[in-house]
Symmetry: C2
Subunit: 155 residues, 2 copies
């Protein structure tokens, strides 16, 4: 079956959460119990309510087999340039190695271009060495330090 890319719908949320959890870093921090937690449904509603967010899935026969999120960010810098930021990139275990990830990133880059972005950016854990190579092959440069601060009271 061919693979297409489309915005996620609410029925995709359990599959997306499974993909987020099926990951070395994600396994400890997600809740895959069903019915799906209202936390995820609330977050999905917030993403859908924001026209500068695009939650994208790769679809094969109406099943989400990969996902990512694009955040479109208007900024003053670079003479008022928009940025497209990619996050939450996952490919279902059985679909890895089938070029779906790179096709999906290329689709996302095209979407950023279509929306007038001058830069596409992402941050990936320093522990994900394979991911760095994957993004470098797609043209990204690891030019920045990605810095994080956990707000424990809210996490």
């Amino acid at each position: 079956m061919p693979v297409g890319f489309r915005p996620a719908c609410i029925n995709d949320v359990p599959a997306i959460v499974s993909m987020l959890a099926d990951d070395l870093l994600g396994a400890r921090r997600e809740d895959t119990s069903l019915p799906i937690s209202s936390r995820y449904l609330n977050a999905f509603a917030a993403i859908k309510a924001d026209s500068n967010q695009l939650l994208l899935v790769a679809d094969r026969a109406n099943v989400a087999i990969a996902c990512l999120q694009i955040t479109f960010i208007p900024t003053l810098s670079h003479q008022g340039m928009w940025r497209g930021q990619i996050s939450g990139v996952r490919v279902a275990q059985l679909e890895r190695g089938n070029w779906i990830g790179s096709q999906m990133i290329r689709f996302a880059i095209d979407e950023c271009r279509r929306r007038g972005c001058g830069i596409v950016q992402l941050a990936t854990s320093k522990s994900r060495v394979d991911a760095h190579r994957f993004y470098e092959k797609l043209g990204f440069t690891a030019s920045h330090e990605g810095m994080k601060l956990a707000l424990t009271s809210a996490a």
Copy 2:
């Protein structure tokens, strides 16, 4: 005069653009000519139209002497966690070394906490070694690679 923090208004745009330009990396990419380019005014309108963007200035006697932008990002990962992302951090030349930068970042972190974010994140050029130390002192960890891809057709 005391310094306060407030959302930027349109009259602050020329001062913010001057701060963006008065920087080793920013000098080559901004346009400080007056009247201010419509590119900046359009970007300012896009920021103001998005309730998940907050362009903040430090104000002394009605003059913007520092700025940053926070992007509030709803995500499914980490059980539907919101993230606060800080970018475009600048302090006017004459005000550097006066703790305004660290006060402003602390203000931004509090704002992220108030909006329910579980993580505050930012990306800073690997060439800005002083900035890494500055953010590490404020509790940030350089845990991620920040990767960029320029879309030359739009830049």
